[in-house]
Amino acid sequence: MAVAEKRMILKHADEPGYSPDITCYMKHGGYQMLKKALGMKPEEIVNEVADSGVRGRGGAGFPMGMKMRFLDRKSGKPIYLVCNADESEPGTFKDRQIIHKDPHQLIEGLMITAYAIQAAQAFIYIRGEMYEGARMLETAIEEARAKGFAGANIGGSNYSCEIVVHRGAGAYICGEETGLLESLEGKRPYPRIKPPFFPAVLGLYQCPTLVNNVETICNVKHIVEMGGKEYAKIGRPNNTGTRIWSVSGHVNKPGYYEFECGALTYGELIYEVCGGIRGGRKLKAVIPGGSSSKILRAGERFKGKNKDGSEFDWGIEDIPLDFDGPMAAGSMSGSGAVIVMDESTDMVEAMANINAFYAHESCGQCTPCREGSLWLRKITGRMCAGGARIEDADLLKSVADQMAGRTICAFGEAASWPVQSFIAKFKDEFVAKAQQAGNASGAAKGSGFRLIG
């Protein structure tokens, strides 16, 4: 019997008869929690969020309560709240469901969070391609404003906060929080150097800013409803609440599923919830948390010690589906995008596809990522076009090693971790590609000359 979903955020999303308008939302108890929150002190809400242990669901998994407490309240500058709706991590399609099917949940969560940090204004930065989503959000905000749940004097209180929906223009780097802030300010989305530009101190317009993912902000409403400590009982310590997992790839039932953290393993997700590998084929690899996370090979063993001292020895199937599970296996849960690959997958082609994405999306500000990401793409592109050489596997790893940790933002790691893990775990395929191509070491097909050195 497959583990049942625990739909908290997506509770109403696919309910027959449920529509995204405010009337339907309020019929299901919508905006009651906003009223409750307005009766609490802002610090009380922050404490509840901290007690809940809720972690960011955008990819970094940073505790939201801690982030709220980092905000600089001494500068006298206005505080801003930004919702990161620039869902661009390959494999992720969860925030879109919330925006299209239950936008008011996001609005309510946004207003509660804004009140908790006493934000002067709230922004929703939505990726440019989600044109419909942006329109739906704007409609929802208008509806909310008409009923006094957004804008001036929310819920009759003396707290006012406008929400501005800002559309992006097609760049993955606008999902990086400081890249987002630059884009929101109307500039090229070049991430800022940290130090000194930590958003909690110098964020939007150089004012303290809280940036959080759509799903994370929706959780705030539920935290206010049940209280932080009750929320923390869902899931397990350090992995509280539910998470929406976007499963894609070679499974029979790809889609989005919401589970209590740690309620099941990756194996149960793939084989029971998603109906197993399509066509009855065998599992080859899983990317556990969006293309930026390190790939896991079927048959690999992950060994280590838990926090309580007990030892674990896992295969992919045994890894708990939460934050710490994939981390213990040397990868990360990222944005919750699980990409499943079966034995028909050519790993070099898959690598080339991933490298092409990162080369296209690199903002170009700093040298290692700008040049390295394109170089990686060119190497795997050449390998797939018949020009693979034996030493290309080591070259890919060396280039990736030169990028990780040397860049302004985490894009450097995001582009290099896939390469490092693919080479570490599937080197045989990269070498085989070269042997197939029949290229002697040192000569690249089409280059017409021998390498010196």
Binding site: R188, I193, P195, E361, G364, C366, T367, R406, A444, L451
Partner: protein, 568 residues
């Protein structure tokens, strides 16, 4: 303010195992250079521009003393020295400030790997243009690749293709393939030149520098981006393909465009000047200069350059010219027209001659609109020199109306004119025909054509001397190229004329000799000598002229309102 020293607070930082004292909060690249002399290689950082940290070349290993979380006490190692927590990832030095106890490793294996990696990345798409690139010899990519690079290439793919040899403005050529996207030019244009015309378009490795659509890089400071560009992406169109820089000899000089006294470097080879670049002086011009000042070297070989002595329009030798000049100037109704383009030494000597002969001295002013940056309203480099040396005692005016009426009324019948075309100062050319004129100057003009005797003089590039700028800062300039054959220095000319006229005490003058006399007779120059003036000049006490309302407004480093005359 109070008597306490305004020395900034100092902190101790440790560079490669040695402790140094540096001002607190100082940028780490500057602090390491100042304290230990070590260069941390960098491209995008510049002390006068905002920090962006995008080239990743200045990465160093950093650590801070570890503190026990429980006791708050510093942790010590086995030897009793403070334990340093080294950061696992390298940090960029340009975005770091000197703080107490900061430890830096500038040459560890991690740092060497970082530099090799960054250079490799910069070189993979960089075109193999060295043989035709003007930057060769002064290219930081070449230099750092030699010092810190891997030494061989592993790149066998196709390089990116971007627009090459694009004229983005009247004076600047852009080659986008060479650009390493450090953004120095963009930040300079936006923050210093206040002309936000440059920017990046496209994304990732296809990022390209370009000008705003429909606009050009044509402001009068555009060539500073060429100086700033660490590679050969932005180059000077005037200098393009003219000369390899390793053949050029740089000599320090001062720009004569205005009284700002921009410090310059004049590059020449075998007597021919090829270009002028700014010289750093944080009291005058930072690291910048206007484009218009860079072209002043063209006057050296201009068509109307005076090259030989002339008597009555016919070529003559120096001795005859001097004798003729002395005889023509033997009148009692002699007047002298001096110049604010002459050096302090020349003005002092002319003043002595004027005093000896009791002749009145007139100096015309050349005024224009100041640009608030590095061109002031006074378009002469040495107006204040004329005041300090006593050549004149009041602010010069553009029109020499007194001299004009004196000529008209017949009070003046002989003029010694130095470096000035007085028809531009309100004297009608027709009137010149009636008086005897001796002209000493560099280029032919209406006055020199009306003169009975013409004696050529060297330009600022062909002689040494000093100018006093708008802030009463005395600055040296040196001879960059030899003067044309047979030409004597202005000092020599004046002293020869004086001797021939029977004036005592002005014979055989050279710059050091003039200084010996000036230092005792000129109040502001007491205790100085030509040799003792530092390369970046010396601030003078100018209290004597506090009541004069000079025409200059604020410049980059000069504010007439808050000018203090304290020594700097």
């Amino acid at each position: 303010m109070s008597e306490q020293s305004n020395k900034p607070q100092e902190v101790t930082i440790n560079i490669d195992g040695k402790d140094y004292q540096v001002p607190a909060g100082m940028n780490l690249i500057d602090a390491v250079k100042q304290a230990s002399g070590k260069e941390i290689p960098h491209y995008c950082y510049h002390p006068k521009l905002s920090v962006v940290g995008n080239c990743r070349m200045c990465m160093v290993e950093m650590g801070t003393p570890m503190v026990d979380r429980g006791t708050g006490q510093p942790m010590l190692d086995e030897k009793g020295a403070p334990k340093i927590g080294w950061m696992p990832k390298p940090a960029i030095a340009c975005a770091s400030k000197a703080t107490e106890g900061l430890h830096v490793r500038t040459d560890s294996p991690m740092v060497q790997e970082c530099r090799k990696g960054t250079l490799e990345f910069l070189l993979i798409n960089h075109p193999l243009d060295c043989p035709i690139c003007d930057q060769a010899g002064e290219c930081r990519l070449q230099e750092f690749a030699t010092d810190y690079g891997r030494g061989y290439s592993r790149f066998v793919e196709h390089k990116n293709v971007k627009p090459k040899r694009t004229q983005i403005g009247p004076r600047v050529m852009l080659d986008d393939e060479r650009c390493i996207l450090c953004s120095r030019c963009i930040r300079f244009s936006r923050e210093i030149a206040k002309d936000d015309v440059l920017g990046f378009v496209n994304r990732g490795s296809y990022s390209t520098l370009t000008t705003y659509p429909g606009r050009q890089l044509e402001n009068n400071y555009s060539l500073n981006t060429v100086d700033l560009c660490p590679v050969g992406a932005l180059t000077d169109t005037d200098f393009r393909f003219k000369m390899r820089v390793w053949f050029l000899k740089p000599v320090s000089s001062i720009c004569t465009e205005s009284s700002v006294g921009v410090n310059t470097q004049v590059w020449s080879r075998e007597g021919k000047i090829y270009r002028i670049t700014p010289r750093e002086n944080n009291a005058v011009n930072d690291s910048w200069m206007p484009d218009s000042g860079r072209r002043l070297y063209k006057q050296v070989e201009s068509e109307n350059r005076l090259l030989s002595c002339k008597i009555g329009g016919a070529e003559a030798n120096f001795g005859d010219a001097i004798a003729k000049a002395a005889s023509l100037l033997g009148s009692e109704k002699l007047a002298i027209v001096g110049s604010a383009h002459s050096s302090v030494e020349e003005q002092f000597t002319l003043a002595l001659l004027a005093k000896a002969r009791g002749a009145p001295v007139y100096v015309p002013a050349h005024l224009g609109e100041g640009d608030g940056m590095l061109i002031s309203a006074d378009r002469c480099p040495n107006t204040r020199g004329a005041l300090v040396t006593g050549l004149i005692s009041a602010l010069p005016k553009p029109k020499l109306s007194e001299l004009e009426s004196a000529i008209s009324s017949g009070k003046i019948d002989a003029l010694l004119v130095v470096r000035e075309d007085i028809t531009q100062a309100g004297i009608d050319a027709a009137k010149l025909a009636g008086i005897r004129i001796i002209y000493i100057g560099t280029h032919s003009n209406a006055t020199s054509q009306a003169a009975q005797v013409v004696i050529p003089a060297p330009t600022v590039f062909e002689r040494a001397g000093t100018f006093i700028n708008q802030n009463f800062r005395i600055q040296k300039f040196n001879a960059c190229v030899p003067a044309p054959a047979g030409m004597r220095a202005e000092l020599k000319v004046i002293s020869e004329i004086a001797q021939a006229m029977g004036v005592e005490g002005l014979d055989g003058l050279t710059v050091p000799q003039v200084w010996k006399q000036m230092t005792t007779e000129v109040q502001e120059l007491t205790g100085l000598s030509f040799e003792s003036i530092p390369d970046d000049g010396r601030q003078l006490q100018a209290g004597r002229f506090a009541s004069i309302r000079f025409p200059e407004g604020p410049s980059l480093r000069y504010n007439p309102e808050s000018t203090s005359t304290a020594t700097a």
